[in-house]
Structures are given as C-alpha cells and as structure tokens.
Symmetry: C2
C-alpha cells in the first residue's frame, strides 16, 4: 500500500517532539519502506503556538488543546510528549475511540498503566511507551516481541541518568555530592529541581513500567519502597571502593517463591558486575530469564534524540499495525495477581558507617545494638578521626532488612554516636 498515509497527532513540540519531527523527515524513505505507508503529522498541540521553534510545522494544524487533537477525525495515531498527569484525559480519549497511543510519559504509565492497557485492549488499540523507561534502549520492545513469553526471575536496573552521572563523577573525580550535582546540572543531565531523580521516584516509576511488561504484574509505583541518593557522601564511595564495590542507584525486582521483592535504593555492587561498568548518564537493565539466562541492555536513558528514536520505534510498530488493521500488543494477555515480598522481610547485607566519640566501650555498645536484632557483623573497621572522633565501618552478614534498620535506629540513639549513621545495602546475590 505505497500510497496510504498514517495521520499522526502530536502532543507537545519540545526538544523530543522536534527531534521526532527531524527523524521523520530525515528517514522518510526508510520509514515508508518499513511501515508500508507514509507517516504524516496532521495536528500538533502546543502550549504557545506563537513560540519560535527549530522545526518546520508547515501544513500541520497547530492548536493548544491536547484533547481536541486526541479526538480529531484526521488523527490515526496519537503521540504524547507533553508528560504528566494532565495527559490522562487525552490519552484515555484516544484509546477509547480505538486510536493507538505512543507516549514517553512515565508518570502516566507508572500510575495508570494497568488501566490504560485494559482500556486499549477493550477498544482494540494499543499504548506503547519505549521512551518512558530506559529512554533510547529498546528493552520494552524486546519484552513485547522476542522475550514476550520468557519467565524472568530477576530485573536489576540503573534507570536514572542524573543520579548515575552524580555517583560516577563522585567516584571518578573525588568530588562531593553537591559539586557532582552542579556538574550534572551544568551539562543538562539534571533538572533545576532534581528532586524526582535524587529521591529515587523517577527510578521507581520506570521500574513499575518494566515490571508490568517483564513480570506481567501490575504494580503501583507508589507502593515500591524507595530511597534516593540524597545524603550519599564521598566517604561512602571511598569505602565502597576499598571493599571492591561501586555505588549505584538500583531498581530491583526479584521474583521467588515468597513473592516479588521490589525496591529502589542505592547499593554497593561488586565491581565485577556488568552494571558496575554502566557509568555517567547511561542506563543499564539487567535481566535474568529462565531460558535466556543473563542479559543486559545498555544505552542512553535520556536526551532528545535517543528519546525521539525510541518514540519513532514505537510509532513504526504501531503504524504498521494500523496499516494492516491488526494489533498484537496485549492481544489477550492476562496479568498475574500481585504477590509482593515486603521490604521488612527481604534479606540483605548492609554497609554501615558511624562517626562516634573516640572512647572505650563505644564499639561494644554498637555491637550490642546489632546483636540485639540478630544482625551479625562480617567485617568491622575503626579509624581515628579528628576532634576526638572515630569512624567505624561495618559490613554485615545477610540479615532481615527490618532487623538492620532497627539496629541502626538503636545505634543512632547512642550518646556516643555523633552523626546519623550511614546505611547502604550491599547487592551481591
């Protein structure tokens, strides 16, 4: 069908939207060959139509109302690049009338993904969001196509480029947290308000999206225990290095007979792990499947062109389904009931670092707190500090997460302990 056309409605024309339009133009012939039709953007919704843009919108109807674009008769496929909760209504509207959606909106997928996928299945449309998790890395499509029927036990991922850049910079250049954050901001890797990144919330959203596809389980991202990297000190990274570890902010999903262990937190990981070599603004998704064994997908988790390319990849798959009048995603897929292993019951090793008064008996008090909740010590080091302080570094054996946190609470209350103890999980299973 060389003469047919797929009409696209585009919500948002920021850097990703402009990148998408550029790819659409530069790869016109390849896209037409792959889809069997021409992709034509017929409508764009932007906040300010008068704003100067680096792209040619000739022949495209520019409006300000996303919902009107989602409902327009001359739109066969909706691309949503505005982001945020306000896009729920237009995306719903498109799906309800059987128009497939491609979006980069991680919030929408993390919070409403289950509902939107059911809506799409009911109306014979699809919703795809490669760009929403892992950016330019084609991991969601791998899970949609070749790995569709694989059983995964294990997904551990670095999903946030900002925090990974900060941790890599601290480690490599010996900079402290604030300096590394500034460097990330000046390079455009971090927003002026980086809370979503630093708090781990961004990672938790992306983890929920990946888990829905890989484990066929619908999890609310708000229910994922989440810790960010705020408070991480250069000294923690130095201690990690000393013990053969590197520090990464991980999204973790481990499935075993007790349930799905889901969490987001910084962790010490062994330097020999492939994920340890995922540095700077890059993302890495490590999967272990029953049949395939270990796999890693690595690439850029953000950036205008990698994101635009991920959007284009989804658009091509959605457009050729549109042209052929079929849809494959979510055909009749059932989601597993959610079975979760609570964080309290997770067994993990910990790294602890304490600043204490340098006087006899303190170590015994610390040891008593740990022993009191059945946390056993694998290694302990004490170093003399300045101003009559000593620093104690402890690596624990595997213990129940709750027990370690209880012990740390007890330690924090000891009169000899000068600062809030640092506690970071060790992930080396």
């Amino acid at each position: 069908m060389p003469s047919s056309v797929v009409r696209i409605g585009l919500l948002g024309c920021g850097v990703v939207g402009q990148g998408f339009l550029r790819l659409l133009r530069e790869r016109e012939r390849l896209i037409r060959d792959s889809v069997g039709a021409t992709l034509r953007v017929t409508r764009v919704a932007v906040r300010d139509p008068a704003k100067h843009r680096e792209c040619d919108l000739t022949g495209i109807r520019v409006a300000t109302d996303p919902l009107a674009v989602a409902n327009a008769e001359d739109v066969d496929l909706l691309i949503e690049l505005i982001g945020g909760e306000s896009m729920l209504e237009p995306v719903r509207a498109a799906l309800q009338r059987g128009i497939s959606v491609v979006t980069a909106n991680k919030h929408l997928l993390a919070v409403h993904g289950g509902e939107l996928e059911r809506l799409a299945a009911d109306s014979k449309s699809t919703i795809r969001s490669e760009a929403s998790a892992g950016g330019g890395i084609p991991v969601l499509q791998a899970l949609e196509h070749g790995l569709r029927t694989e059983h995964f036990q294990f997904l551990v991922a670095i999903l946030n480029g900002t925090t990974n850049y900060i941790l890599s910079t601290m480690e490599r250049d010996g900079r402290d947290f604030a300096e590394a954050l500034q460097a990330a901001q000046s390079l455009g890797f971090a927003e002026s308000d980086p809370t979503l990144d630093l708090s781990g919330a961004d990672t938790a959203q992306k983890l929920a999206i990946l888990v829905r596809r890989a484990f066929r389980m619908d999890v609310a991202y708000g229910s994922i225990p989440t810790e960010g990297i705020i408070g991480m000190e250069l000294e923690d990274l130095r201690q990690a290095d000393r013990f053969g570890y590197t520090v990464k902010l991980l999204g973790i999903a481990l499935l075993n007979s007790e349930g799905l262990d889901l969490r987001v937190h910084p962790a010490f990981i062994p330097k020999r792990y492939l994920l340890a070599a995922v540095r700077d603004e890059f993302n890495g998704i490590y999967l272990r499947g029953e049949a395939t064994g270990s796999m890693l997908f690595y690439g850029k988790g953000a950036g205008a062109l990698p994101t635009a390319q991920a959007v284009l990849g989804d658009v091509i798959v959605a457009a050729r389904e549109f042209v052929a009048g079929v849809r494959f995603l979510g055909a009749a897929e059932k989601h597993e009931p959610e079975r979760r292993l609570p964080l309290d019951a997770v067994r993990t090793k910990y790294y602890l670092r304490l600043i204490v008064e340098d006087r006899p008996g303190v170590l015994a008090q610390v040891a008593a707190c740990l022993g009191g909740t059945n946390v056993s010590v694998a290694q302990m080091f004490q170093a003399e500090g300045i101003r009559g302080e000593a620093s104690i570094t402890i690596l624990t054996h595997e213990a129940r997460d709750r027990d370690v946190r209880e012990a740390v609470k007890g330690i924090a209350k000891l009169p000899a302990v000068r600062k809030t103890p640092r506690a970071v999980r060790i992930f080396d299973i």
Copy 2:
C-alpha cells in the same frame, strides 16, 4: 481467534529442538495469549527416528526428509534447526510457497541471506534468524522493530562464546591457550573440532548477518577479512594487561564516508570499554546509532535454552503475523549498495611482540623496518630473556594496516628475529 492453530514443521530435534518443544509445552498459555492461536508441531524431520529423545513426540509425524516437511500441506511455519548448507533446499522450498521460516542456521544466512530474503519478500513470507547471531540476545529483533529506521555508524561485537571463554580463562587464570581450550571443551563451550570458532569464521558469519540488518547491506561473509585467535599466547594477554588493555575477538563494522570497514580479528581493547566486561561464554553487541548513541546488548550467545528461547521469540512474531494474515519484515525494504573500505586502507594501532637475539643493533634494524613503511612507534620496551634472547614489545601509532603488515613481514625476515612476530591490532577509537 482463540480456537485457531498454527501448524509447525520442525527440522531437527537435537538439544535446541528439544529445548524448543519444552518451552512450547511449559509456556502454552502465554504463547496462546501472545499469538492469539495455539502453536502445534505437526511434523518433525530427524536423521534417525528410532533414536531415543528426551521429549514427547506423541501426535507428531516423524520423518527423515526435511524437504518433505518443508513442502507438507499441514505446515504453516517452518523451523529449521539442523544447520548447514544442506538446509538451503528445504528453506527455499518453504519460502517459495509462502511459508515463513525461523532458523538458527548462521551458515545459511551468512552465505545465502540476501537471496533468501529476496525470495521471502517475493512470496510474501519471512525468514527470521535471531538465534543465528548473538544466540539468546534479542538484537536482530531490536533491529527489526524499534531500531528499524536507525542509522548505525558502528557495530563492534563479541560473537563467539568459545573464543571469549578461552581468552577470559587465559587472562583470569594465567592458563595457556591449549589449557584454556581444553577447559572450554570439557565445559561443552567448544566443539571437539573448534576450527570454525578459533579461526574467526563463526564470528564473520554472525557479523555478516548483523550487518545485513543494521546497515541494510548485503555482504558475503567470505569477503570479510578474518583472523582468529590461534597463536595467541599468554604473554600477549599479560602485555595487554600491562598497557591497560584486554584481548577480545571482535567482529567490527564501521561505516564512514570511505565505505564500510568490515573485519574480524583479535584486538586489544581498553579495559574501560563495556565490551571488556563481556567475559567467559557471553556475547556482547555494541552499536552506535546516529540518534540513539551508544548501546550494548549482552547475553548468552549459545546454549540449548537461550537458543530455543530466541527461536521461540521469532516463532511468536512469525505466528501472529500468520494468524493476522500480514507480514512486516522486509516489507519493501531496499538494501544499500555495498561500499567497502578494504582492510589495506584501514588505519589502526598495533601491538607487536618480537623475540630477538640479544645483541647490539637489532633494535635499530627493527626500527628501520617500521620507519620504512611509515609506521611510527608510540611505545617500545625491551626485556632480557633467556638463552641470549630479548623480547621487544612495541605499540605503534595509528598507521595504514597494510603498512604495518609490510613492516612486520620485513621484521620477520631479519636474521636476528627468532620467532614469527606477534601482531595484534589495538581497537580504541
């Protein structure tokens, strides 16, 4: 269409075939949900039907003639797991009558891939071969789907698990080549005749398959300059380590304005490269795309279940196209004309190691050979050996590949040179 059935003809029932049948049985519901139909193996062709197999062939017609299965009326989809040139006829037969093929046959794709893809396009069938390159890693599907329209400049890959295991074992355990090969054989990572692996031919075949998809160029794998790892000595790996490198057998495809630089050879790569962390029997495919930037796909390149899972991944995509009566692969895709940069003209750095007589003037002779073909030395080390021998290690600056090889030929002829010089390219662009 919950009641429809896709009838599969299976050629070969060795470990991969048995793994495939096991996955088909264990994941029946998931597969049905994904495809919208039941997959049923109706016919199997095996060399010896009487042979005991670890799988249930009840209800399947077992025969010895692959061509008969390919032509059978009750076969909707052909899976070819026998391998080798003799499968050309049955695969052709299936494609010609519009039956799509899934194969793990790297020889067939590397030698006849272009012809078979054209045949498939003409008859509205498809040929997919995820398992033929990178084993369980879903890289060909990524290139088929999300990355379909990306422009790649750069593909560098570790595609042979046997040689990677040997090099990793030599490096980690300080074993020599013969010991490491034996270890690989005893673990089942190497065939009793490992020539195809060690010579680099296996890597060249897989590279040709990947290049066809990533660069849309049809290259004959026999035309790829190929060197294997035979002759690699433990001392070369020690020297690599000393200079901050690790040794890998690489398949390389670099596209620039002069053409496509295609080659297979062992190389020193910087330890900081992600490919340096691809160890043991694992494979890694590093791609750099115009929009996506750097990407790595990592996983198992061989093994019964990873391969069976890759086959199943292709089968699911092919089966749902069959059910829907569409086909997306190769829709109207045009291949680029082949533009190649000959190896002679490639510019690269080299590592050289010479065993020479320990007497004055030898170094000057060596330097003269290098200077004679315009190869300039970046670093040179001489160490005293035993029996009046000295060892000279040289790292060159970037030079034309032909010029370095000419210089090495000259060096080999010097009366003071005791052994054939070792020469390994350095890949750090």
